[in-house]
């Protein structure tokens, strides 16, 4: 059947009998989790949205220490958060299989960097698999569990966006029974990593790595095809581009292709075999020269005279993602063959510049109201606005232009203290509810203890919106129709952390909100504003709101404050008039509150779809 890569990975996990899975949502990994979440409601698979990736990995590690097959799922930068757990988890290892999915995002379609997480396998000393296609991603999950249990180590399954978000016909396999309960058998000499224990465990890890090398050497996940005196070594989705390039260039009988699916530790013997039989070898990999440097090192050790190249100005870049034509050009250039007579590409250079269509806060988004209120309250003073990761990051775009600094989850709060200490400017930081739970709390404790002076605005829209409305610890799960969950109240939490000035605003009550922000800005030390209003997309899907659209009446004098200050996507210009699209407007009333002529009024006429 037709499956998205992420659906195929979830299916592979079920076919492997996974019994516990934990995640923090992040594109491009999110659909793996949303599928497992749904399935977990109907069977004894335990799935959770953990508060962050480190906790997710620790959940999975403990289950695996008990002998239960478990999985931790995250985007590439999530593994940075989980890295502290990962590095020593490699020392203690596992009893039941543990697979860690790292979904990398070359070209940064929805990420703040394009780090190449294959280096985590090398850094931690762990086995890693890299699928090249959707069907293979499904097959690799059970294989990864077997490797994990054979070695007693967690296994990384590293994907990229083009695997996660590709769709292919997949043949379903049988589901394995789950072993969902298993008592923990104590072994402090293995699981308590005091220095004396850890010294032995590091030696154990290196032994396991040697055993993993043997597995990789003999693994069917590494395959060789073709023949000839030229070689190509590749992995991941690049392998598909290489296969197409070899077919298009007619090089099938001149090129040996080694596709590496088990990419740490590398199958050194098979690589050397290829190097010995070739005069020239091209390494095709997105991101960093992970394979290339290892292959060059192997060739050097064996004193092989073969020419090896990959990342080079005239071949392949370390930047962004590859595509079939880029790979075809690189292959043709390296081997000195005629590039295929290309189709005449359309020359689009004379197309006039089209208006940009950046993603925007939705019509009726509560973040827009909060940003506007803070902007009004802070007007006239030079203010720095550190922001954070979520929909509200989009507030950095004009005309709101609320967002001055962002590096990672939780960085708004940590950096706010630093800005406040040295800049001499006022600081107002923004963080979403889910991101606050994920990694904002320690930084807020830090600010209370060290008496930093800034205002933190917690944008509480009752969901993890950006990645598709996943729950977080502040969400009322009963309201979602889901039982069996606790709830953490942000306001109580913040007060308990020692923040003395805490106010809760309803951002669509604009005047009151501006006044509350002004008051918070005067506080010496840390002040917190919790801006609470449900995400309009979520409200719509929960059928909590009935959209009551507004319209621009004849009173309009074309000041256009509404458009210029708010940039709500429901507005459009019709000739010289400002209009509101009744299908988009949800009746948040923000624009009506700022219109100097009070010209924006409820559309009483019935809205037809």
């Amino acid at each position: 059947m037709l499956m998205l890569g992420n659906e195929a990975i979830a299916r592979g996990a079920l076919e492997a009998g996974v019994a516990l899975a934990a995640t923090y949502p992040g594109t491009p990994s999110s659909e793996i989790s949303s599928n497992l979440f749904q399935i977990s409601r109907e069977c004894d698979l335990y799935f959770e949205y953990s508060v962050n990736e480190k906790v997710a990995l620790e959940m999975a590690a403990a289950a695996a220490a008990c002998g239960v097959r478990s999985m931790a799922i995250m985007k590439h930068v999530g593994l940075n958060v989980a890295a502290d757990a990962l590095m020593t988890l490699a020392y203690v290892g596992v009893r039941g299989g543990l697979v860690i999915v790292s979904a990398d995002d070359p070209a940064m379609f929805s990420s703040q960097n394009e780090q190449d997480n294959r280096y985590y396998a090398k850094l931690a000393g762990l086995p890693m698999l890299e699928p090249s296609s959707v069907a293979e991603a499904k097959e690799m999950v059970p294989a990864a569990f077997v490797i994990s249990e054979t070695l007693g180590e967690p296994v990384l399954l590293r994907t990229t966006t083009r695997i996660n978000h590709s769709t292919e016909a997949v043949t379903l396999g049988a589901l394995s029974p789950r072993r969902s309960r298993s008592a923990f058998v104590r072994d402090p000499q293995r699981f308590v990593t005091v220095p004396a224990v850890a010294r032995r465990l590091h030696a154990r890890l290196l032994q396991n790595l040697a055993a993993a090398r043997e597995l990789s050497e003999n693994s069917p996940l590494n395959r060789i095809s073709g023949q000839g005196a030229w070689g190509v070594i590749t992995s991941g989705v690049s392998a598909l581009y290489v296969e197409d390039a070899i077919a298009d260039l007619g090089l099938g009988d001149r090129v040996q292709l080694l596709r590496i699916g088990f990419s740490h530790p590398l199958p050194a013997g098979r690589i050397l075999n290829l190097l010995r039989g070739c005069q020239r070898v091209l390494v095709v990999e997105e991101g960093e020269p992970f394979l290339e440097e290892a292959i060059k090192a192997l060739a050097q050790e064996e004193h092989l005279p073969v020419a090896i190249a990959g990342k080079r100005e005239d071949l392949f870049s370390r930047l962004y993602e590859f595509d079939p034509a880029t790979v075809r050009r690189g292959v043709a250039r390296f081997f000195g063959v005629e590039p295929r007579a290309a189709l005449a590409a359309v020359d689009a250079s004379d197309v006039p510049e089209l208006p940009q269509r950046p993603p925007n806060l939705c019509a009726g988004c509560s973040h827009r109201a909060t940003f506007y209120a803070v902007k009004q309250a802070a007007a006239g003073s030079d203010t720095i606005f550190p922001t954070d990761i979520g929909c509200y990051t989009l507030g950095f775009l004009p005309p709101l232009a609320m967002g001055d600094y962002l590096i990672c989850m939780g960085s708004s709060v940590g950096t706010a203290g630093g800005f406040a200490r040295v800049s001499g400017q006022r600081v107002v930081a923004f963080i979403g509810d889910s991101t606050f739970f994920h990694s904002g709390i320690p930084a807020l404790v830090n600010a209370v203890f060290n008496r930093h002076r800034f205002t933190l605005v917690i944008l509480d829209n009752g969901t993890t919106a950006m990645t598709g409305h996943q729950p977080n610890p502040g969400v009322d799960m009963e309201q979602m129709g889901l039982g069996g969950f606790g709830r953490v109240a942000i306001e109580e939490l913040v007060r308990a952390l020692g923040v003395s000035h805490v106010s809760v605003i309803r951002p669509f009550k604009l005047k009151k909100s501006i006044a509350a922000v002004r008051e918070a800005l005067e506080v010496e030390g840390v002040s917190v504003i919790i801006s609470r209003a449900i995400c309009p997309l979520l409200a719509k899907s929960l059928k909590q709101t009935r959209a009551k659209a507004f319209t621009v009446s004849e009173r309009c004098r074309n000041h256009r404050d509404c458009i210029q200050a708010l940039a709500c996507p429901a507005f459009f210009i019709d000739g010289e008039r400002v209009r509101i699209d009744p299908h988009l407007c949800v009746g948040c009333t923000l624009c009506a509150q700022i219109c100097p002529e009070h010209a924006i009024v409820p559309l009483t006429a019935e809205v037809t779809p």
Binding site: A325, A345, C362, F572
Partner: protein, 197 residues
């Protein structure tokens, strides 16, 4: 089988991903090899959603610039923005109903005239089918059927490796039961409109 590469561009919320899924299901049912991919990171936030369907023997799930045989655009400005994905012999099927981005409303950029867009498209590729997808979707009974209208127009070009009935079969099997009739009506309106375009 000859490889044929299709790129679909749309604005978030226009139903691009369902359209490509329907084509994939039709190909699967017909035993035609295909690969698909999509980029939809911020689809719900009004950004551009792009998907690719590659029919035939190719393994790659994406289409390089200048290599699309078919470009299906749900919004004329986005169709023009994506024209560099095509080769000169490509077929372009586009809706002519504009959805200017909010950047236009706040004075950052000017949305070109539809006639200008179409003239530019026609100058670039050998065949352009332009229909008012929005009007036909409303005629079919729901604005959300724009994607089915556009699939109908695409099917009429006979440049897909499967015929219109195979796509109708996938719509029947894979779209929500309550909407199948409306979806098929929309598909047929698009199909017939392309005949006259």
């Amino acid at each position: 089988m000859k490889t044929s590469r299709l790129v679909i561009v749309a604005v978030g919320g226009q139903g691009n991903l369902l359209a490509s899924r329907v084509l994939g299901e039709a190909a699967l049912a017909a035993g035609i090899a295909f690969r698909m991919s999509e980029i939809h990171g911020m689809a719900q936030r009004g950004g551009v959603v792009e998907s690719a369907v590659i029919f035939g023997g190719a393994r790659s799930p994406i289409v390089s610039d200048g290599e699309a045989d078919l470009l299906l655009g749900f919004e004329p400005g986005e169709t023009l923005r994506a024209i560099g994905r095509c080769h000169a012999g490509a077929t372009v099927v586009t809706s002519i109903h504009p959805l200017p981005p909010f950047t236009v409303a706040i004075g950052r950029g000017r949305y070109p005239a539809i006639d200008d867009i179409l003239a530019r498209l026609r100058a670039k590729v050998s065949r352009v089918i332009a229909i008012d997808g929005q009007a036909l979707a409303l005629q079919a009974g729901h604005p959300m059927t724009l994607n089915m209208v556009m699939l109908g127009a695409l099917a009429h070009t006979a440049s897909l490796p499967m015929d219109a009935d195979m796509v109708r079969g996938a719509i029947r099997a894979k779209t929500r039961a309550a909407l199948v009739d409306t979806n098929l009506a929309a598909f047929n309106l698009g199909f017939n409109a392309a005949a006259g375009a």
